[in-house]
Structure formats: C-alpha cells, structure tokens
C-alpha cells in the first residue's frame, strides 16, 4: 500500500515536470570499494545519509591536486547535514604506477585528507557514473523511493588556481539540495586529466 501511494505520488509529481526530466534521471546503485585505511566503504553503510558528494580524482593529475584543501572544506561543511564526501580513484593501476593503492595512502597522509579515498580498481563505479575526468564531481541524492539519483555532475568550481574568485558550482548544488530546492545548474563541464578505461578505445572530445 505504501508503495502504491508512493508510486501514485511519483505519477503526480511526474505530470508536473516534463517527461524528459524524469526519464533522464540517472540512478546510482550501491557500491563497495576499499578505502586507504583498508576499510570497505559502501553507500549502504551511511544509514542517515541524504546525499553524497562523489569526486573522481587521482594522485598525479595537476588539476586534481589543486583541490585537496577545497574537498576537505566541503567534507567538513556537509557531513553534519548528512551529506558525505567520498573521493574515488578510478585510474588504471596497470598503466599508471603513480596511482597505486600505496601511493593513494601516501597522498591521504601527506595532504591530511579527511574524507574517504577509495580505489575503484575495476573502474566499474566510475563507469556507472560515467566519469571521464579528474577531478569530476557528482552529487547523488536519495529520492522518495530511496534510490540514489545524480542531481549534479561536473566541475567543483570554475577557478582551479584562484579559489577566491571561483563560482562554486558543486557547493551551490549541494546547498540547494540541502534546502530541498531544485538544482539550478545541474551540469557543468569538467576539465582535468582524462580517465581512460582499460580495454576501451578513447574517443576524442
């Protein structure tokens, strides 16, 4: 019965939005990956989570390196709101010796990263999100059916080298979601280093 009413509610909700918006909503399934502290982290483990900030990053990309401090700030700002920042390294460790688990651990220690830094060794999670750059951020939010939906995708901000001048796209999107608003700018372009998927021929963009 509960399910039926939820479905009905969704139906009415759907009729008030454009059909396209509903069908292009991308769901993210739960995933489990190993963090640099050797613990397995999964979305399910965060019982009270309203949303997650998922950032695909890596060890050696110069653009990604510029954001460590900003990610720490975002992590601290939102965790009390039930929005957790998780960083994922999905670089092909077969190709890049700089992206090994050991060097991920070194990075966390050296840069005093506060948030979990997970290794996506099979690149499956990155593929699920459709990540193609480091850094690239996603905000996923729980919908009424309890599914994780991508509500923001793109760059963290628009000024990697001059943070004080930046438009903080990611932060704005999270703020809007926290206030139960619709994200006004749900997609921005990401720039940085390409994530190449093992066994796939890269398309030039």
């Amino acid at each position: 019965m509960k399910k039926t009413s939820a479905l009905l509610a969704l139906f009415f909700l759907a009729s008030s939005f454009s059909f396209r918006e509903i069908t292009t909503e991308k769901k993210i399934k739960n995933f489990s990956l190993k963090s640099t502290n050797n613990k397995i982290i999964s979305l399910e483990k965060y019982k009270n989570a309203k949303g997650f900030i998922i950032v695909f990053t890596c060890n050696k990309c110069p653009m990604a390196k510029l954001y460590s401090e900003r990610l720490n700030t975002l992590y601290t700002k939102y965790k009390s709101n039930g929005v957790y920042l998780i960083a994922i390294n999905a670089m092909d460790t077969l190709v890049y010796k700089e992206e090994s688990f050991k060097l991920m651990q070194n990075k966390v220690k050296k840069e005093k990263l506060l948030f979990p830094y997970l290794q996506d060794k099979e690149q499956a999670v990155a593929k699920q999100f459709g990540a193609s750059y480091t850094p690239q951020s996603f905000v996923i939010w729980k919908n009424k059916l309890g599914k994780w939906i991508i509500r923001y995708e793109g760059s963290i901000d628009d000024s990697a080298l001059e943070p004080t001048k930046a438009n903080n796209y990611l932060e704005t999107a999270v703020d809007e979601l926290v206030q139960n608003k619709i994200v006004t700018n749900p997609f921005t372009k990401s720039v940085g280093c390409r994530i190449f998927y093992r066994g796939e021929i890269a398309k030039m963009d």
Binding site: M63, L94, Y96, D158, K189, V191, A202, M204
Partner: protein, 602 residues
C-alpha cells in the same frame, strides 16, 4: 559585489602604478638546457607533464609542458636544448601524461629508430632513451609530439620546445648568440579557448587559434638591447601561416632557415613563415630610442604574400588562416576555419628597447656574408620521384598520392646515399606545407601557383619544410645519407597538424646493404646481477649478435623503459624502476627476433 571590488582595485592600481604598470606580459624565454656531461656524452632529462596554466580569467587551462625534473616548473612548452655539432646526446624522455605520445626531433638528422615519429610510441609512464651523434650544422630546430591522430591535441596542450645546434663555423661569425639577451627564440602560435572551461580546443575545427601567443605568453613584450638582435622564429601554429614584419616596416635580414645559415643575409620587410618552418633573422635596433615601447612584431595576414602578388582580397591560393574570421569568441561550436585572428593583421609581440649590452659585446652591423654552403644539384641526382597532393573535396581528408596514412602502409624505399629529386605537385583545393624527416633538401624550382617560378630569396638554403600554394609545384633535392634501417620508417607529411592527423602523411625507409633473413630464432643471452639494484648487465653468448632494441616491461605488461639500439656494454641503468619483477625483451638487429628474460629489481 566581488566583481565591483575587483574593478575598483584594478583602477586604483592603474592610477597608482602608472610607472610600473604594463599592459603586456613579459615574454617567456624558455630556459637553456645544456645537458649533463658524462663519459658517454651529454644526458638530457625531459619529463612530459600534464599541467595547468592561468591563461585567461576564470578556469585554469589544462596544459602540457616539458620539464627538467626537478629543476623547472613549466606549465606550457619546454626548455631550449642546446646541442653542439659532434656531441653524443642521450635523451631520457619520460611520458607522465595519462596517454601515449611521442617526441619527434624536428629537423634532426638521426637514425629512424630515434626519430620520435608515429612508430616510436612512448606509453604513459614509460622512459624512452634515444641517443645519437649530432651531425646537424648550426641551426634552429624544435621537438614536438608526433603520435598519429593526436599530434594536434598534444601540440595544442603546449608540449614542445626549441633545439639550438651550435658549431665552430657559426661561432666564428660576428652574430648575436647570447641566449635570452640578443638571441631570442620565438615560438609563435595561437589557441582557441572553449567557453566556461577555458580548455584549449584541439579538434579538427580548431585548426586556427583566436588568441596569439609566443612561447606560451599571450600579449607578450620582450626587452631587447639597442643593437643587432637575432630572433629565431618558429611558426608553431596548428595550421595558420604568418606573414611577419615589423610595425615600422623596417628592413630585417634572414640569416638562416630550417637547416642552417644562408650564404649571405637576405634583406626583407615581410617574411612568409608556414607551420613548422624556422627562420633566423637579424634586426638592427641600434637607432631605436632606449625605453621606447612602440615597435611591434606583427603578422600582416591581411596583406599576406598571396594578396600582395595577386592584388585580390580573396584566399585564392589556400594560404592557411586567410579564410574569413568569426567576429565573436568561439566556443567548441565555432565555425570551421573561423579563428578570430584569421585574415587580420595583428600584433605578435611588443618590443621594448633597452640600453646596449655591456657584458656582451654588442653586434652593431649586419654581416654581408655568412657561410659557404654546398648544395646538391641536378647533376648529383640518382633517382627522382613525384608526390601528388589530393583529397579535400567535400570536407574529406587531404591525401598524398591518393592514400591516407597508416603506420602499416608500405613505405617508399630509398637507397642509402641516394641523391633524390622529389617533385611535389599541389593540384589541390588548399595550400600545404610539405615536411620531410631525416634530411634537409635544397629547393631547386617552383612553378605554378601564385609564388611564380622563382624560388624566393629567403627559402634558399637547407629546408625541411616547404610551402605549396594551390596549383604550385616544388622540386627539391636531398641526399639520404648516414642512417639506414629497413624496419623503422621516416615520415613525410603536411605540417598543418590537422591535415597530418587526418592522414596527409607517408613513410619511407632508407635501406643500406640488403637485409639478411637468417633464420635464427633466438638470441642467447644472460642478464646479471639478478636481482639488480642499479645496473643490469647483458652477456651475449654470441658476440656477433647486435642488439636492436630493448624494452623493459612489468609482468602485467606496462612498458617501463624503451632503449633503441642500447649501449648495453656498460650495463643498463635500471635504478629508476620501482622494485618488482620485470621482463627484458631483446630484439636482435639482424633477425628482429625477440627474446625475453626475467629479472628482479630490488
């Protein structure tokens, strides 16, 4: 609000700092890199790095650069390599990009296996160690990526640098040669930036940049002493030709081009420089006023040579970059051939005049003669070829002899020491710059097209690239000497990088004595010590075997080191490898068979 404050600050700055404020950026002059001398020659360590650079306000631009680790922090372009004739140079090139690339030594006469063309792929994370003896004479060369289909993207990122070769003949001449003071390298290029991300666009439609830059500096100013100054000009554009001159139309002097010095300086007021070409010029600043900032180096692309010669305003002869421009900054959907700078005359660089040098003896006059080059003539020719430029209709790719390039295409074969006469025929819808690897050529004739039948005064001398207008035919002579290798080919191609990436390229091998096809399956050898910490030695069972190539890979197959024709007798330096088990794959020179041995790095 933030913007208002910024503007206020900006104007306050303008008012207060009227003496110190400059509307220009100081021209980046890449560091000169002389290498590290050792018992076997000079070693140059070059890291190909991803980076970011604040080119414009807003988002930083993702770039690429070459760095001498850990000494430099270049964010665009790389050091100027200084070589002396007869030096043995060892290059330690590490690819730190996330993808494969190559580094080609443009204009360098060297074995094909060291050339850095599309066949010498350096995978991500790999150390490539080519080496050779400098046989070039004093000249300005450059190095840049050359991986087929991604050359434009990698050059656009900023990966590349100059090479200056010095020799005793040049050193004896009264020419400016103090690097960075009276001898300045200028890699002239431009970029298109995508809206919102400021990413440098590198698709086929982005063959013309919207914003000019020299050595990676936008709106540059260089301070030059009040004397004769030498500028080494490289057209590092993706496709655009540059009709270069000074803003006061002063005469300047071409003293050298691609392959070395001319016999005598050639006086000009405009100089047409096409992609990949280099010209060394002298400009006399002796009569200029110290402190003046009124002189500009400019691209007179509204009055490029084609229009001067034809008197028309249309791009009838396919001069790249003379197509109409777009009037608004372009995003990634900008019109094809629509660079903001197209068909405009624009400033390349402001020149600020400083006092004449005191520590360096100033050159004050232009020499009347330079060197005494001996060029090949028709009497020397042992073989002739014709190459026809085609394609391009309806937006299709341009071709050479009707074919698109593939690394596996059958190469032309040229006999070692052959003196060949090549005729390049451009009955095509666009102009092209034909570039030859391995050796320099002497242009002996032109016909058709707008340039006429005279070889232009400034394209005398040794060339590796030559401009072909629509309807133009060029004949040149080259000797394919010193280096034979029937396996690895050299390239010839159009140096408009968009054309090259789309397949306007061919390959040739230079063949010495007939290759033997002995059926020896394997080359017997041992490696020691094993495990190894620093140097790995090879013990060949049969000393008649020669090693053609060694690659060292991890067990998973990641290439760690590539050593073409290694100098294995003194051992291989493996100290940079991470600990682990590796495979050493040895290719035999005669049979090209590959034998593999395992070793452990501790």
């Amino acid at each position: 609000m933030k913007k208002t404050i910024n503007l206020l600050l900006f104007f306050t700055f303008l008012l207060l700092a009227n003496t110190g404020f400059s509307q220009y950026n100081v021209l980046n002059i890449p560091e000169a890199y002389y290498g590290v001398s050792g018992s076997t020659g000079k070693t140059f360590t070059l890291n190909i790095d991803d980076n970011v650079k604040q080119f414009r306000t807003g988002q930083a631009t993702v770039t690429g650069a070459i760095n001498i680790d850990p000494a430099t922090t270049n964010t665009f372009w790389g050091p100027t390599l200084i070589f002396n004739k007869d030096d043995v140079v060892h290059m330690n090139v590490t690819n730190n990009l996330n993808e494969s690339t190559t580094i080609h030594w443009h204009g360098m006469h060297l074995p094909a296996i060291m050339d850095g063309g599309p066949h010498q792929i350096i995978p991500a994370g790999t150390l490539w160690q080519p080496y050779w003896t400098i046989k070039n004479q004093a000249a300005t060369l450059w190095y840049h990526p050359h991986l087929h289909t991604t050359t434009q993207a990698h050059v656009t990122k900023g990966i590349g640098g100059f090479i200056i070769v010095k020799d005793p003949t040049e050193a004896a001449l009264p020419l400016p040669r103090t690097y960075g003071t009276d001898d300045i390298p200028l890699a002239i290029s431009s970029r298109r930036f995508l809206s919102t991300t400021n990413a440098m666009a590198a698709q086929v439609i982005d063959n013309y940049g919207d914003y000019s830059m020299i050595n990676g500096t936008m709106n540059p100013q260089v301070t030059l002493p009040k004397q004769v100054v030498r500028l080494r000009i490289l057209n590092a554009e993706i496709q655009r030709g540059l009709n270069i001159g000074f803003s006061d139309n002063r005469t300047f002097y071409v003293i050298g081009n691609d392959g070395g010095l001319l016999n005598a300086p050639v006086a000009v007021t405009r100089l047409a420089v096409q992609t990949g070409e280099r010209y060394e010029i002298l400009v006399n600043l002796s009569s200029d006023v110290v402190g003046a900032e009124t002189l500009f180096l400019k691209a007179y692309n509204t009055t490029a040579e084609i229009q001067l010669l034809t008197g028309t305003g249309t791009n009838t002869f396919g001069w790249p970059g003379l197509e109409g421009n777009s009037t608004t900054p372009t995003g990634n959907n900008g019109p094809i051939n629509g660079g903001l700078l197209n068909n405009t005359t624009y400033n390349l660089m402001n020149i600020k005049i400083a006092a004449a040098t005191t520590t360096v003896t100033p050159i004050t006059t232009i020499p009347t003669t330079l060197v005494n080059q001996t060029y090949w003539t028709t009497a020397d020719v042992t073989n002739t070829r014709t190459i026809n430029i085609g394609g391009g209709n309806g937006g299709s790719a341009f071709t050479l002899d009707g074919a698109l390039y593939s690394t596996t295409m059958t190469p032309k074969t040229i006999n070692l020491n052959a003196v060949e006469k090549w005729t390049i025929v451009n009955n095509n819808i666009f102009g092209h710059t034909f570039h030859l690897h391995d050796v320099f050529f002497k242009i002996i004739s032109r016909s058709g097209g707008n340039i006429g039948t005279t070889v232009r005064s400034f394209e005398q001398g040794w060339k590796d690239s030559v401009w072909l207008p629509i309807g133009g035919t060029v004949t040149f002579i080259a000797k394919f000497d010193d280096y034979a290798d029937s396996t690895w080919p050299y390239m010839y191609h159009c140096h408009a990088l968009t054309h090259e990436d789309e397949g306007m390229m061919g390959q040739f091998t230079v063949n010495g004595t007939l290759a033997t096809n002995e059926n020896v399956a394997h080359t017997a050898f041992k490696v020691y010590p094993n495990p190894v910490a620093n140097r790995l030695y090879i013990n060949l069972e049969n000393l008649d075997n020669e090693i053609y190539y060694i690659t060292i890979t991890t067990l998973e197959g990641r290439t760690a080191m590539m050593l073409p024709k290694p100098e294995w007798q003194n051992g291989i330096d493996v100290s940079s490898l991470a600990t682990g088990t590796y495979l050493l794959k040895l290719t035999d020179s005669k049979t090209k068979s590959v034998t593999t041995k395992k070793f452990i790095k501790i």
